[in-house]
Amino acid sequence: MASGVLVFGEATDDGGLNPVTKELIAAGSNLGGPVTCVLAGTGVEGLAQECVAAGAGKVIVVDDPILTPYQGDAYIPMAERITKEVDPSVLLMGQTMMGRDLAPRLAQRFSTAVAMDCMALSMDGDQLIAERPCYGGSARARYKINGTPQMATLRAKAVEPLAPDSSRQGEIVRQDAGVTADQVRTKITDRRKEKAEGVRLEDATVVISGGRGLGGPEGFKELEDLAEIMGGAVGASRAVCDLGWYPVPTQVGLTGKVVTPDLYIAVGISGASQHMAGISSVKNIVAINKDADANIFKASRFGVVGDWKEIFPAFKEKVRELKSA
């Protein structure tokens, strides 16, 4: 009988533990556990203990260069084999580049299903209940999965990690990937980073985002100034990324990044549901918009109705003054 929770953790490009890993382990524990965590990649063994401290009862380390960077063809046979061995009742991944790609394909291998991008998970007896946004963030749906394992991908920051406890005991085992190069039909020929400097949007405690209301790419200079003063990051709406006013990786929303800062300042953004989908767990949203009926105000704790060009400079200078005081 299938039992327990299997989670697929992830390392970041620079070799740290992707924070979603601890959130997945916590989510698995909340569902009743016990949690087995897979860590696959290159040089990931050193991260296993961190997973144990985060609540994993067992960590399966698969260290093999064939697994980095991620390619579906390399991961699937490995993930399929481990899933068969562990035979979990619930299987979780992050809603990451890997999770989006791997989860549906793995689900198909087991003739089961996966609820993608979940914000909340719970158990009803043996049944996983997976809650996720849909219709561009306008609605929420709750699913049951009629297959084994019951799979879900979890949105970043949807679940609090457990407090790390270095006295937790866990088993760490090593496995081979068991994948050969000829099984990998795709080939990565190039990888480029864009806009790597500064605070990462996903980690920032302050995010200042601009929309079409900025009137042009020049407006972002002002936002960058304030971000620098506040130690924050600059984001953008899809409208401005599509217009080429700001780089694609800064897009916040349904098809961009999910951000969770303490403070989110939206400048000239109307607040379409698809944008709000990226900031749904932010408690302090500040909106500056000249349209008093703009949707963004509905979810904002503070609002300013007016032309950002007139309001923002005074706001910025006052923040600078308060920060240096």
């Binding site: 390619q71 579906g72 063809d73 990451t96 989006r100 790609d101 989860a103 549906p104 394909r105 689900a107 291998r109 299903a113 993608m116 209940i129 849909c134 219709y135 561009g136 306008s138 609605a139 929420r140 749906a141 709750r142 049951k144 999965i145 009629n146 039909r185 795709t186 080939k187 990565i188 020929t189 190039d190 990888r191 864009e194 806009k195 790597a196 996903e202 899809r238 990786p249 098809t255 990044k257 403070l263 302090n284 500040v286 105000f297 509905k298 979810a299 704790r301 503070f302 300013v304 007016g306 032309d307 007139e310 309001i311 923002f312 400079p313 005074a314 706001f315 006052k318 923040v319 308060l322």
Partner: protein, 263 residues
């Protein structure tokens, strides 16, 4: 002759104003808004654009549109044909029109098999109704094909598909042998808009209608149960900052945020 299959779903217009978006919680369905017509799912129109760009280079490329859903889906197929696609296949069968994502993938895969040979299958990164993002990759698994997700550029030449993928903090170039599945994202760029002449031409292009019986498969089973559908209440009380001048308002905002220890 290169053959590209583009999947295209029809969805309620995602630009429907928030105030008019309502769901029937008992039926677990979105209530259609009078006067707002369903539209082709945005990423699928982008998928057709990706296929047309390949066809712009290699003129004898054939593009087939496949759509599963009720009668109105014909409009989505016609739109793609007017953009420049060549043929349409409409899978229209009450047994599957309401399928979940997995049964949909099984049905579409069976239709794709019937359309062999093909070089490339293009799907949207996600359909903009349920935003699930699984059907493209699931079809790849069913048909045992390589897949590349979230593309911003797709090129095809000499049995190789070259894809620019959008990553979290950059881009990646991936090559896959044909046939393969690619899912596309909005970073690919604006889809072309059909001209009147093309719309008239599209009226003459063939759209086949297939049922499950035509596909020669048993009705695929759903693997999920939708337990609930609801509109979350995310509205909160807003404190509007007011003042005599823009200068004063801007400064007041900073002061209030400081009081709340937010800066």
């Amino acid at each position: 002759m290169p053959h590209i299959i583009c999947l295209a779903k029809q969805v309620p217009d995602p630009e429907t104003p928030a105030a008019q978006f309502k769901v029937d919680e008992a039926a677990k369905k979105v209530i259609p808004v009078p006067g707002i017509q369903p539209v082709p799912s945005q990423f699928d129109t982008i998928g057709v654009e990706a296929a047309l760009r390949i066809k712009d280079d290699v003129a004898d490329t054939i593009i087939t549109i496949v759509s599963l859903g009720p009668d109105s889906n014909r409009d989505t197929i016609k739109h793609s044909l007017a953009m420049g696609a060549d043929e349409g296949v409409h899978i229209n069968d009450p047994a599957v029109n309401d399928s979940d994502h997995w049964a949909t993938a099984e049905t579409l895969a069976a239709a794709i098999k019937k359309l062999e040979p093909y070089d490339l299958i293009i799907a949207g990164r996600q359909a903009v109704d349920w935003d699930m993002g699984v059907v493209g990759t699931t079809i790849a698994e069913i048909l045992d094909l390589p897949s590349v997700t979230i593309a911003k550029d797709v090129k095809m030449a000499d049995g190789t598909v070259t894809v620019e993928r959008v990553l979290l903090d950059g881009f990646e170039t991936v090559e896959a042998p044909t046939p393969c599945v690619v899912t596309v994202s909005n970073e690919l760029g604006e889809p072309r808009y059909p001209q009147l002449r093309q719309i008239m031409q599209a009226a003459k292009k063939e759209v086949k209608t297939w049922t499950i019986a035509d596909l020669g498969i048993d009705t695929p089973q759903n693997r999920t149960t939708l337990e609930a559908l609801f509109v979350p209440d995310t509205s909160i009380e807003t404190e509007f900052i007011e003042g005599e001048s823009a200068q004063e308002i801007g400064e007041k905002l900073a002061v209030r945020l400081n009081e709340e220890k937010l800066i």
